[in-house]
């Protein structure tokens, strides 16, 4: 690349930081450098709103992925602040040793790089490579504690994730096969902007089969039931900052890949409508996860199931399609990312203070740790979809737009939402209120990231600036 622009910044800053962090031994310096690097990436990402380069054969920035990139880099930035205090505590109690912390910081930046690359990729092959890289990085991070549970989780995630990735590659090859007779051999037949312009002339049958593979492949990474089996383990056993990034960001990135291919199919009139497939998978995930919330004993596992539930809702909304449902899906995705990572920030510190992740050993948090306890309550109220927070609004939009078009589906949707809500509150009650139980440690907590996220979610629920509404409407229109 020639001159330094924001797009190169989004990719090069994490990469350079990863190289640097791999060499730096000290924890304090690397934690700060990690924060500095994510801040720089966020600044670069934000500037993409104002000035963006022309799409090339490999990279592309448009309204759709600019939104995803800013969300990703923002949550990456706040998580790095949370991670600094979280990892400091893990180091202090000896759960992690300095070499592992060094490895952790380098991998964190590689993960940011991989996610950004997947988002800006204009080439469907490159996008696949980036998602594969992100998978491998997170596998290594999930297994970092090297306990029985962590190794099992990482192994399961690795095997299921690889199978998903493999199916997605097969789908990608099929898309190329469909494009080749129309676009011609070579690089152009894998460039997304070229593909979407000429998709009308592709062989519809081949595109259909390709989409089924892509849906199964990337759907595994989104965590859609029945392909979700890796997700709860990976969330529960890895370090909590990684749980936050997995739930808040990586699932979105996989969903973004699916959306790109959905747009490709939508451009071909004779191909199958991807909507019903996504609606079905979304509803199945929502219902399944909502019922699974009841019997959870591990707090991180519980919120992992809640992530499956919400990815189901988002996939459902995008599957319904149309300006209103797409708008709701986008809003829900943004709100879910912010809220779920805030919850994991709280849960991470709570688990450190209590020395366990078992729900049975937690109780009366509002008395012993008022800030963490109330933060968690606020987060759960938000994630359950109660007014006046942001998720209430997006869920309301999903439900109301569905009622207008398919009342039967809406009834199932509402039932799933209510079951999930009850499940969450049942557990929340015993965690946050009542007699204090279990050990009471003092966490070295950083509250700023958690409350910053929750404040944004609250603000979005109370008042959405018209500029933001217009921006989301514009993207919802693009998604078709």
């Amino acid at each position: 690349m020639m001159t330094f622009d924001a797009l190169t910044g989004v990719l090069l800053v994490p990469l350079a930081a990863a190289a640097l962090l791999a060499m730096l031994p000290g924890y304090r310096v690397s934690a700060r450098l990690n924060v500095v690097a994510t801040t720089l990436t966020l600044v670069c990402a934000a500037s993409l709103f104002f000035k963006r380069p022309q799409p090339g054969p490999y990279l592309l920035v448009d309204d759709l992925n600019a939104t995803f990139i800013v969300l990703t880099t923002f949550v990456g930035f706040t998580t790095s602040i949370f991670s600094a205090s979280y990892i400091g505590h893990e180091l202090a109690i000896g759960r992690l040793t300095p070499p592992f912390v060094r490895f952790y910081h380098a991998m964190y930046q590689v993960l940011m790089f991989a996610m950004n690359l997947a988002l800006v990729a204009n080439n469907i092959g490159l996008m696949w490579v980036a998602i594969e890289l992100a998978t491998l990085t997170t596998v290594l991070m999930v297994g970092i504690y090297r306990t029985h549970e962590a190794l099992e989780a990482a192994w399961k995630y690795f095997i299921l994730g690889s199978v998903g990735i493999a199916l997605a590659l097969f789908g990608t090859v099929l898309v190329y096969m469909a494009a080749r007779p129309v676009v011609g051999e070579g690089l152009d037949a894998m460039v997304w902007t070229v593909l979407v312009k000429r998709a009308g002339a592709f062989d519809p049958a081949l595109l259909d089969v390709a989409f089924v593979f892509l849906l199964l492949g990337y759907g595994t990474k989104v965590g859609l039931a029945p392909l979700h089996a890796w997700l709860p383990d990976a969330h529960a056993e890895g370090p909590t900052p990684i749980s936050a990034v997995l739930s808040g960001l990586l699932l979105n990135v996989a969903l973004y890949a699916l959306l790109r291919f959905k747009m490709l199919l939508a451009a071909n009139a004779a191909a199958l409508a991807p909507g019903p497939l996504m609606v079905t998978l979304g509803l199945v995930s929502l219902l399944f996860a909502a019922f699974m919330l009841y019997r959870r004993r591990d707090i991180k596992r519980m919120f992992a199931y809640s992530s499956i539930e919400h990815m189901g809702i988002i996939t459902f909304a995008f599957g319904m399609g149309g300006p209103l449902a797409n708008f709701a899906g986008l809003l829900h995705m943004t709100m879910h990312s912010l809220t779920k990572s805030a919850i994991f920030f709280a849960v991470g510190h709570i688990a450190q203070a209590k020395g366990t992740q078992r729900i049975a050993d937690m109780g009366g948090l509002t008395e012993t740790h008022p800030l963490l306890g109330w933060g968690l309550i606020l987060g759960v109220v938000a994630i359950a979809g109660l007014p006046p927070l942001g998720i209430f609004m997006s869920e309301f939009l999903v439900v109301s737009s569905t009622f207008a078009r398919a009342p039967l589906l809406a009834i199932i949707l509402v039932a799933g939402l209510l079951v999930g809500l009850a499940g969450l509150f049942l557990r929340l009650n015993s965690i946050a209120f009542g007699e204090p139980r279990g050990p009471v440690g003092k966490p070295t907590a950083s509250y700023a990231p958690m409350f910053a996220h929750l404040a944004i979610v609250l603000a979005a629920g109370v008042y959405m600036p018209p500029a933001l509404v217009g921006w989301f409407q514009n993207i919802a229109g693009l998604l078709g």
Binding site: N123, G125, L126, W128, V129, E132, L136, V139, L140, G143, R146, H148, E149, L151, E152, A154, W155, F158, I159, S162, V163, A166, L167, L169, F170, T172, V173, L174, Y176, M177, R180, P181, E185, G186, L187, A189, M190, D203, A205, L206, D208, V209, P232, D233, A236, E237, R297, D298, R301, R358
Partner: protein
């Protein structure tokens, strides 16, 4: 394309499916690895033939990677790991061999029906290749679900990847990016797996994945 070009490509891709079947009924780890090496060897030949037929020199690189890395380095390394762990007899099938073979045949029939039906437009060689590739992918998946042993699951995954390489090379003129990345990902995947196997050994004294189930978070 002349008749002989097509026939040889067809023969090689078909052999790959046959060898996948051979893998399905191996009941000892060493023989499984040998069969996998043969699998990779045939893949290398097939890719090299495609490179020749399509006049695409960059595919020779992919063929070389398949030959050196998948047919030689990985089987040798896995041999050593197995020897060191002393687990060469431990293969446990979840289902019987007969059932697995029947399921495999069903999967091959399925992929023929699906791929041949949807690829009317493509040239005949690419059609056949895709159908065979999908069979190999599905057989690899089948192997992963019918085996409990971590090493044989990894072998299943690697033969699945071989199917993907077959698909990618059969798609004429597909940019190099993907081939390299596939090979590269196998490399990384293998490193990860290697580390895992050692760690699993360190912690559990067995590589039977079922033993891991005891440590599930839900059963505390």
């Amino acid at each position: 394309m002349s008749r002989i070009d097509f026939d040889v490509a067809h023969l090689l891709a078909g052999s790959l499916v046959l060898i996948s079947f051979l893998e399905l009924y191996q009941d000892r780890l060493y023989s499984l690895l040998n069969v996998y090496a043969a699998h990779a060897l045939v893949l290398a030949a097939s890719v090299a033939w495609q490179a020749f037929v399509q006049d695409a020199p960059h595919l020779y690189v992919t063929a070389a990677i398949a030959l050196l890395f998948k047919a030689i380095v990985i089987p040798v390394a896995l041999h050593r790991i197995i020897a060191r762990l002393g687990i060469h007899r431990e293969i446990e099938n979840v289902v019987g061999v007969g059932l697995a073979m029947l399921a495999g045949m069903g999967l091959v029939a399925l992929s023929m029906v699906v791929m041949l039906r949807v690829t009317h437009g493509a040239d005949p060689l690419a059609r056949e290749d895709l159908a065979f590739a999908l069979s190999v992918v599905l057989l690899g998946l089948l192997m992963m679900v019918t085996r409990r042993n971590a090493v044989s699951q990894v072998v299943g995954f690697m033969s699945l990847e071989n199917g993907l390489v077959l698909a990618a090379t059969g798609a004429k003129g597909m940019p190099l990016v993907v081939e390299i990345s596939v090979a590269f990902s196998i490399l990384i995947a293998f490193i990860v797996i290697g580390i895992f196997l050692f760690r699993i050994r360190e912690r559990f004294d067995t590589v039977d994945v079922q033993a891991l189930d005891r440590y599930r978070g839900e059963q505390r």
